[in-house]
């Protein structure tokens, strides 16, 4: 990582590239069609005679380019919601439209195909295939897409370079640290160029310094035009997003953009000695300030 730091392009160049790569939706701020539209979604699990409503009428939508945190305690239904968003589960009732398409009309194969092409998953436990190298792990979603392997390989190598693991492509997960494994997982999530990146407690297994790196990476991915949805129980992690949906007992308790002022609450910590907790908030603090200054300019 420090190596790539040394080869960092000049800030001007980097910024230019960022703005060039970002789709107009992000900055346009117009009411583009929602990427995700969830209307009155219920999810009921039955165990024997007992029916448990895990989601009880959830409604929200997410526009392309948003960075949303779904925050809630354990058992609040946030993971179930993520599974539905990621097409791994179906609502018991209600409508979920992904990219304008009503998912209830799709059969299993179509769902597999949408998962493959529209979404990228990042998990708490990374879930890398232990016997495959970093590069091969990144290639995995491409194996189910109709893309020539040579292109996939090239792209996987580029992505690994981007997440700072260009020199570790041939390492198996066992030889990578937790943070590095999650970077591989991030690269993997991006391989098929999905519109939506879903992260399930992406920092749950990482120390705070590494968490900050991963969250920063998610921030970059979002800036590059991807819609990012992070599910977490952790307020600090959620604070890195630009919008927070708070879910409790299967219903949305609050859904609001994370305002610069709310984020600035973290700023006083920055002056202090670099503790673990601070590192995390530092990273998000940086993100917050980005938006702060961006908002200031556009205002």
């Amino acid at each position: 990582m420090t190596v790539s730091g040394a080869t960092t392009p000049s800030p001007a160049e980097a910024s230019a590239e960022v703005s060039a790569g970002v789709s107009p939706d992000v900055h346009g701020g117009g009411h583009a069609e929602a990427l995700i539209e969830v209307r009155d979604v219920w999810r009921t699990f039955t165990q024997g005679d007992l029916a448990v409503d895990v989601l009880r009428g959830v409604t929200f939508s997410i526009r392309p380019g948003e960075f949303v945190a779904i925050q809630g305690t354990s058992g609040s239904g946030k993971s179930t919601l993520l599974h539905i968003l990621g097409l791994l589960d179906r609502p018991s009732s209600g409508v979920y439209r992904l990219a304008g398409e009503d998912t209830s009309t799709l059969d299993d194969d179509a769902l597999s195909h949408r998962r493959n092409s529209l979404t990228g998953f990042v998990f708490q436990n990374f879930y890398l295939i232990p016997y495959a190298t970093a590069l091969e792990n990144v290639l995995l979603p491409g194996m189910y897409a109709d893309t020539p392997l040579r292109q996939l390989r090239q792209r996987a190598a580029e992505l690994l370079d981007i997440v700072g693991l260009g020199d570790r492509m041939d390492f198996t997960p066992a030889r990578l640290s937790g943070g590095q494994q999650q970077r591989v997982a991030l690269a993997r999530a991006l391989l098929n160029d999905p519109a939506l990146v879903l992260a399930d407690e992406p920092t749950g297994q990482l120390d705070s310094a590494t968490s900050a790196e991963i969250l920063a990476l998610l921030g970059r991915i979002n800036k590059a035009g991807k819609t990012v949805v992070v599910v977490t129980h952790d307020a600090a992690t959620a604070a890195c997003a630009r919008r927070r949906i708070f879910i409790r007992d299967g219903v949305i308790e609050s859904d609001a953009p994370i305002t610069p002022t709310a984020q600035d609450m973290g700023t006083p910590l920055k002056g202090g000695a670099g503790g673990a907790g601070e590192a995390a908030s530092d990273s998000c603090g940086a993100e917050a300030s980005v938006r702060g200054s961006a908002a200031g300019e556009s205002a």
Partner: protein
């Protein structure tokens, strides 16, 4: 690292510096190239993906048109595109390499089944070939009569029932018979010529016309004369094997050696018959006049063990056998219900006997092979269920990343069939080695053919599909959420 705050796009770099981000060299350092790279990579990647899609649909990437068409059929059957099918296969091999020990167990189990199958098929083919050779040698126009009945033999019944009188009577009054050669044998006799010692497994006592009666030409010398037989001359015909052992490359005719201490003169040498292995070689024998044999080894002089009768024609062999039987019964004073005290063996009977042995071979070895294959199959199924359980996370992950259930099914089936096919190859080699060993020990005769290979490949594929299908289905049916949760 100094940053220029007046960059056109002020976001992130500016703020990062402004806040004095302590991990500038780490997170920040990574983040910058990443931000640029992601967008650049995405733009170019996107273009490439589009390109790839059209190209991918236009033509499969299988080498060769036939292979491509074949893959197309399989693809239609599995519902996967040739490319995805090809990748499922690749991933299957990849996983097999990763789970080497397990793969080894399956291959070992299957290969044992295939090895026994190989030995069996080759042995059965070998037995058929040998049966052909034996029947050929036996000749369709001749019979062999043994003393004693192979069907009814009460305890204590003699099996020396054929006498000189019988032979003479057959010679003079059996219609169609033009050669009658009585025979008896002595096993394991020490031969000695100078320094060369050789234990010949069988010394046959016969009369003149032995060679002709067995359709066995002499490469040199002459057959016995009636005179040789009458006076018990110390002459002999040498089979190919003892001829080589005693005289090397030198012609043995006219030379002498010691048979159990008695000097014998070689008058003729039998042609090399070279019947394929198993049960010793027919060339490994010594023929002496029957009178000489009985005198030198002090055997019964009235009776002998067998009679070789050669007829003038093969077409009427059934009638000749009937005549021979009734004449012998008459000579032996058997009447009405009395069972025969001799056995007449014809070429067809020899064939029937051999196919009976072959049938037993097929049955017993077949059961063994089926059991071995089934064991291999169960080992496969067992280890694959274990594999599905153990690789839940991998399977769940693949499905979460967009693998259709069929791709998972096909991958696991490919793994199973690849292992059983590998087992087939190992099994074929093992079977050939086992066959070689058995052949060398003289137990069986093996004939390896494309048939053996085909049967091994088909049998192993069937085992792979049949026993691999259920675990593969179990893998394909895994719920990714549960599978991933179970892996935590």
């Amino acid at each position: 690292m100094t940053r220029d705050p007046s960059a056109t796009c002020p976001e992130d770099t500016v703020s990062r510096c402004a806040t004095g981000c302590p991990e500038d060299g780490t997170a920040g350092g990574v983040a910058e190239p990443m931000a640029g790279g992601v967008s650049a990579g995405m733009a170019s990647g996107g273009a490439k993906l589009m390109e790839g899609h059209t190209q991918g649909h236009m033509q499969g990437r299988m080498p060769g048109r036939t292979l491509g068409r074949m893959a197309g059929h399989v693809a239609a059957f599995t519902g996967l595109s040739p490319r995805l099918l090809w990748r499922a296969l690749r991933m299957a091999f990849f996983a097999l390499g990763a789970y080497r020990l397990r793969s080894l167990f399956v291959v070992a189990a299957v290969s044992l089944g295939i090895a026994s199958l190989t030995v069996i098929v080759a042995a059965v083919d070998g037995a058929s070939k040998k049966a052909e050779e034996i029947t050929d040698m036996f000749g369709p126009d001749a019979v062999l009569v043994f003393g004693g009945s192979t069907i009814h033999r009460a305890v204590g019944d003699r099996n020396l029932t054929l006498s000189w009188d019988d032979a003479l009577a057959l010679r003079s009054s059996l219609p169609g018979a033009y050669l009658v050669v009585p025979m008896r044998a002595k096993s394991a006799v020490r031969l000695k010529n100078g320094d060369a010692n050789y234990d010949v497994p069988i010394v046959v006592g016969a009369t003149e016309n032995y060679a002709e009666a067995w359709n066995w030409p002499l490469v040199e010398g002459r057959d016995f004369t009636a005179e040789d037989v009458r006076r018990g001359a110390r002459v002999c015909l040498l089979g190919d094997k003892p001829a080589r052992e005693l005289f090397g490359d030198v012609s043995p005719v006219g030379r002498s050696f010691l048979m159990a201490g008695v000097p014998m003169t070689v008058v003729g040498r039998l042609a090399y018959r070279g019947m394929s292995g198993g049960g010793g070689s027919v060339d490994d024998r010594l023929i002496v006049p029957i009178t000489t044999l009985t005198q030198r080894f002090n055997l019964d002089r009235r009776y002998f063990r067998a009679l070789r009768v050669k007829f003038t024609d093969a077409e009427n062999i059934d009638r000749h056998v009937a005549d021979l039987t009734s004449l012998l019964r008459d000579l032996h004073g058997l009447k009405g219900e009395d069972p025969d005290d001799f056995t007449v063996l014809t070429a067809s009977e020899v064939r029937r006997f051999l196919s009976m042995i072959k049938g037993g071979l097929v049955l017993f070895l077949g059961i063994t092979a089926a059991a071995a294959m089934a064991v291999g199959g169960f080992v496969l199924a067992n280890l694959f269920y274990l594999s599905v359980t153990e690789r839940r996370v991998e399977i769940g992950l693949k499905k979460a990343l967009g693998a259709p259930s069929r791709a998972v099914l096909v991958q696991f089936l490919c793994e199973a069939v690849a292992l059983t096919l590998l087992g087939a190859i190992v099994g074929l080699l093992l079977g050939m080695a086992m066959g070689q060993a058995l052949e060398r020990l003289g137990f069986i005769e093996m004939v390896l053919s494309a048939k053996v290979f085909g049967i091994a490949v088909v049998a192993s594929s069937v085992v792979g599909v049949v026993f691999g299908l259920r675990p593969a289905r179990a893998a394909a049916a895994l719920d990714p959420i549960a599978a991933l949760r179970g892996g935590e």
